[in-house]
Amino acid sequence: QVRGELAMANAQELINKINEKCYLKCVPKPGARLESGEQQCLSKCMDRYMEAWNVVSRSYVNRIQRESQSQMM
Protein backbone atom coordinates (compact mmCIF):
# COMPACT_ATOMS: atom_id res chain seq x y z
CA GLN A 1 0.00 0.00 0.00
CA VAL A 2 2.89 2.35 0.75
CA ARG A 3 4.36 1.30 -2.59
CA GLY A 4 1.07 2.11 -4.33
CA GLU A 5 0.93 5.55 -2.76
CA LEU A 6 4.49 6.24 -3.86
CA ALA A 7 3.75 5.22 -7.45
CA MET A 8 0.59 7.38 -7.38
CA ALA A 9 2.47 10.40 -6.03
CA ASN A 10 5.15 9.92 -8.67
CA ALA A 11 2.61 9.64 -11.53
CA GLN A 12 0.71 12.67 -10.21
CA GLU A 13 3.87 14.78 -10.05
CA LEU A 14 4.82 13.68 -13.58
CA ILE A 15 1.36 14.65 -14.86
CA ASN A 16 1.59 18.06 -13.15
CA LYS A 17 5.00 18.77 -14.66
CA ILE A 18 3.92 17.67 -18.17
CA ASN A 19 0.80 19.79 -17.83
CA GLU A 20 2.82 22.84 -16.85
CA LYS A 21 5.66 22.48 -19.37
CA CYS A 22 3.62 21.29 -22.37
CA TYR A 23 0.71 23.69 -21.90
CA LEU A 24 3.27 26.50 -21.92
CA LYS A 25 4.90 25.21 -25.12
CA CYS A 26 1.87 23.95 -27.06
CA VAL A 27 -0.99 26.32 -26.16
CA PRO A 28 0.52 29.82 -26.40
CA LYS A 29 -2.86 31.44 -27.09
CA PRO A 30 -5.70 29.42 -25.54
CA GLY A 31 -8.77 29.53 -27.81
CA ALA A 32 -12.34 28.23 -27.67
CA ARG A 33 -11.19 24.62 -27.91
CA LEU A 34 -8.02 22.53 -27.89
CA GLU A 35 -7.15 22.58 -31.64
CA SER A 36 -5.93 19.38 -33.30
CA GLY A 37 -2.52 20.96 -33.90
CA GLU A 38 -2.31 21.73 -30.20
CA GLN A 39 -3.29 18.16 -29.35
CA GLN A 40 -0.57 16.76 -31.63
CA CYS A 41 1.95 19.08 -30.01
CA LEU A 42 0.79 17.93 -26.55
CA SER A 43 1.18 14.25 -27.51
CA LYS A 44 4.71 14.81 -28.81
CA CYS A 45 5.66 17.03 -25.89
CA MET A 46 4.37 14.45 -23.44
CA ASP A 47 6.39 11.66 -25.09
CA ARG A 48 9.52 13.82 -25.11
CA TYR A 49 9.02 14.78 -21.46
CA MET A 50 8.74 11.15 -20.41
CA GLU A 51 11.84 10.27 -22.46
CA ALA A 52 13.68 13.16 -20.80
CA TRP A 53 12.51 11.89 -17.40
CA ASN A 54 13.98 8.48 -18.20
CA VAL A 55 17.31 9.90 -19.41
CA VAL A 56 17.58 12.06 -16.30
CA SER A 57 16.60 9.20 -14.03
CA ARG A 58 19.19 6.88 -15.60
CA SER A 59 21.95 9.50 -15.37
CA TYR A 60 21.11 10.32 -11.77
CA VAL A 61 20.96 6.72 -10.58
CA ASN A 62 24.25 5.94 -12.42
CA ARG A 63 25.87 8.87 -10.71
CA ILE A 64 24.66 7.86 -7.26
CA GLN A 65 26.00 4.35 -7.82
CA ARG A 66 29.39 5.61 -9.04
CA GLU A 67 29.70 7.90 -6.03
CA SER A 68 28.75 5.24 -3.52
CA GLN A 69 31.27 2.82 -5.08
CA SER A 70 34.09 5.34 -5.04
CA GLN A 71 33.33 6.06 -1.38
CA MET A 72 33.66 2.39 -0.50
CA MET A 73 37.09 2.08 -2.09
Binding site: I15, N19, E20, Y23, V27, P30, G31, L34, L42
Partner: protein, 84 residues
Protein backbone atom coordinates in the same frame (compact mmCIF):
# COMPACT_ATOMS: atom_id res chain seq x y z
CA UNK B 1 -8.54 16.89 31.52
CA UNK B 2 -11.54 15.01 30.14
CA UNK B 3 -12.41 14.78 26.46
CA UNK B 4 -15.72 16.39 25.44
CA UNK B 5 -18.36 13.81 24.48
CA UNK B 6 -19.89 13.93 20.99
CA UNK B 7 -22.85 11.93 19.84
CA UNK B 8 -22.41 9.88 16.65
CA UNK B 9 -24.64 12.38 14.89
CA UNK B 10 -22.46 15.31 15.97
CA UNK B 11 -19.39 13.43 14.82
CA UNK B 12 -20.86 12.78 11.38
CA UNK B 13 -21.85 16.43 10.96
CA UNK B 14 -18.40 17.56 12.06
CA UNK B 15 -16.74 15.19 9.60
CA UNK B 16 -18.97 16.47 6.78
CA UNK B 17 -18.24 20.07 7.69
CA UNK B 18 -14.47 19.46 7.74
CA UNK B 19 -14.63 17.56 4.45
CA UNK B 20 -16.52 20.44 2.82
CA UNK B 21 -13.99 22.96 4.16
CA UNK B 22 -11.16 20.79 2.83
CA UNK B 23 -12.74 20.67 -0.59
CA UNK B 24 -13.13 24.46 -0.51
CA UNK B 25 -9.45 24.89 0.43
CA UNK B 26 -8.37 22.62 -2.45
CA UNK B 27 -10.51 24.57 -4.92
CA UNK B 28 -9.11 27.90 -3.71
CA UNK B 29 -5.57 26.56 -4.02
CA UNK B 30 -6.24 25.50 -7.61
CA UNK B 31 -7.75 28.92 -8.36
CA UNK B 32 -4.60 30.61 -7.02
CA UNK B 33 -2.38 28.42 -9.16
CA UNK B 34 -4.53 28.84 -12.32
CA UNK B 35 -4.64 32.63 -11.81
CA UNK B 36 -0.85 32.63 -11.56
CA UNK B 37 -0.43 30.69 -14.84
CA UNK B 38 -3.15 32.52 -16.77
CA UNK B 39 -2.13 35.99 -15.56
CA UNK B 40 1.30 35.41 -17.15
CA UNK B 41 -0.29 34.11 -20.37
CA UNK B 42 -3.06 36.72 -20.78
CA UNK B 43 -2.10 40.02 -19.10
CA UNK B 44 0.77 41.77 -20.87
CA UNK B 45 0.22 45.23 -19.43
CA UNK B 46 -1.98 46.59 -16.69
CA UNK B 47 -4.87 48.71 -17.97
CA UNK B 48 -7.72 50.55 -16.28
CA UNK B 49 -9.98 47.58 -16.77
CA UNK B 50 -9.73 43.98 -17.93
CA UNK B 51 -10.73 44.30 -21.59
CA UNK B 52 -12.93 41.71 -23.34
CA UNK B 53 -10.05 39.91 -24.99
CA UNK B 54 -8.15 39.58 -21.71
CA UNK B 55 -11.23 38.22 -19.99
CA UNK B 56 -11.85 35.73 -22.81
CA UNK B 57 -8.17 34.72 -22.68
CA UNK B 58 -8.35 34.09 -18.93
CA UNK B 59 -11.45 31.99 -19.21
CA UNK B 60 -10.11 30.02 -22.22
CA UNK B 61 -6.82 29.60 -20.41
CA UNK B 62 -8.59 27.86 -17.52
CA UNK B 63 -10.66 25.63 -19.82
CA UNK B 64 -7.74 24.65 -22.05
CA UNK B 65 -5.47 24.00 -19.07
CA UNK B 66 -8.04 21.59 -17.67
CA UNK B 67 -8.53 20.04 -21.15
CA UNK B 68 -4.76 19.54 -21.30
CA UNK B 69 -4.83 17.83 -17.94
CA UNK B 70 -7.59 15.45 -19.04
CA UNK B 71 -5.82 14.88 -22.37
CA UNK B 72 -2.62 13.85 -20.58
CA UNK B 73 -4.34 11.53 -18.12
CA UNK B 74 -6.37 9.87 -20.89
CA UNK B 75 -3.28 9.41 -23.08
CA UNK B 76 -1.31 7.91 -20.18
CA UNK B 77 -4.10 5.39 -19.67
CA UNK B 78 -4.17 4.57 -23.40
CA UNK B 79 -0.40 4.05 -23.42
CA UNK B 80 -0.64 1.80 -20.40
CA UNK B 81 -3.51 -0.29 -21.77
CA UNK B 82 -1.72 -0.85 -25.10
CA UNK B 83 1.14 -2.12 -22.97
CA UNK B 84 3.80 0.47 -23.74
Amino acid sequence: MSQPQFSENDQRELAQFLEAENAKARIQQTVHSLTDTCWDKCIAKVNNKLDRSEEACLSNCVERFLDTSLFIVKRLEDLRSTGM
